[in-house]
Symmetry: C2
Subunit: 262 residues, 2 copies
């Protein structure tokens, strides 16, 4: 440790690192790394996101009875190229057989281990509106491993009402309930104005990670991991590509710095 990330304001609270949703980029892969002689280098952030996709594809294949799979086949199903797939899998260790491929079972096990899916991660959903409902009813999220164990809302009419089998608690009880029930992941599905205060309460309740659906940049202590899902941003990125395509198609001209302008 020691060598902190350069510019860092003195405060204990920093903006959730990435401005983007980035399942890729940023961060030197594992912990601090660099000046620390002990810590080894680990899996690139970008690869982690893909491992989760491979896992799903592999599980589907296993269900279909496949026992073995080659990088070419798996990569096609996962929408990446085979070199990338092989490189990604190589971060787990050497679990393939040259000339043959990978054993589906083994790969599933290794990816699960690497992603920490052998432990359970209890989830709390905050904000039981349309989206919160949808999330709560997912009922024990993706497959197994992410049981929803607490729900919160401000609405007095909602408090006490069970949704997907779990009674809704009040926002004020977030810290107590979360630490009682050992929640490790908080999902924020509130309006943007409430998000930061909800986030603070989740953190004080001992939650380690936050998945944020509210369109705001959360400020969190640095040991908290935040990921965000931002509809507006996604749509605007798509919009950019539509616009770019339109520009490319017809007579576009360059502006000062050489950028296509229209």
């Amino acid at each position: 440790m020691v060598a902190r990330r350069g510019r860092r304001n003195g405060s204990a609270v920093t903006p959730a690192l990435d401005a983007d949703n980035a399942p890729t980029a940023e961060m030197p892969a594992v912990g601090v790394n660099g000046s620390d002689p002990v810590r080894a280098k680990s899996i690139p952030e970008a690869a982690v996101a893909r491992l989760a996709v491979y896992l799903r594809v592999l599980s589907a294949m296993a269900e279909q009875g496949a026992t073995t799979v080659a990088s070419e086949e798996l990569s096609a199903a996962a929408g990446v190229n085979s070199a990338k797939l092989r490189k990604d899998l190589s971060y787990l260790g050497s679990y393939g057989t040259r000339g043959v491929g990978y054993e589906v079972r083994v790969l599933v096990g290794q990816i699960e281990r690497t992603l920490g899916l052998t432990r359970q991660h209890k989830v709390a959903v905050v904000g039981i509106g349309n989206l919160g409902h949808a999330l709560a009813n997912y009922g024990g999220f993706p497959g197994r491993g992410f049981p929803v164990e607490a729900l919160f809302d401000v609405d007095a009419d909602l408090v006490g009402v069970p949704v997907g089998g779990i009674p809704v608690s009040h926002l004020d009880d977030i810290p107590a309930v979360c630490s009682e029930r050992g929640i490790s992941i908080g999902v924020i599905a509130t309006p943007p104005t409430a998000a930061q205060s909800v986030c603070d309460r989740l953190v004080s309740g001992g939650v380690q990670c936050i998945l944020n659906f509210a369109p705001v940049v959360l400020q969190v202590p640095e040991h908290i991991e935040v990921r965000k899902v931002d509809l507006a941003v996604e749509l605007q990125i798509l919009s950019f590509h539509v616009a770019r395509r339109a520009d490319d198609a017809n007579g576009s001209h360059k502006v000062g710095n050489g950028m296509v302008v229209r």
Copy 2:
């Protein structure tokens, strides 16, 4: 130049490029680029995602009456560092004033222009379950610019029923309705099994971009832009970080290839 993107199968259908949600990485920024002597280089993919965030922050600031903002302030609010912010804004052109900062109004206008937000992009939502409802009720998505103009579902009981003011149509009518209404963005909120077929119909209806909430890798023609939002993947990435942290904390040891294993 010349050098085509290596592997690219001859088929007209390719897996949606990125395996990850990646608002960053992959793609040489703008269109073909490289062998084309005319086309200029453009905004990095990673920067585009952040521009959308800056836009939101700037809009909030404008509402609060701010007329001018310095890179340090804006970057803090957006959760990035100021160098990155300045670099990102420089892709738009030179709209700042040295010694002063940026004019909020101007920046908002430039980002909107760059993201193609001056045109409207009509949206269709497919799959009116919990999530679809939530999306439909967003009622003209983020602010302005993304009006929801069509809804689809298989459920006969739902067809004809208005949700958020728009009557639900049947899946079979996707191509006709989409091309009639000039839909440019399709949002898939169906169960995974239906997603690919829905996607195909959206494409045949002339939709240019797809936002996919279903946990499957869609295969699309290469001129179609796909982005995905995958809850399972997000949670598993968080899980990875929890696990990594736990490993880092206590006596971890390295395995063959030098990776932290537990």
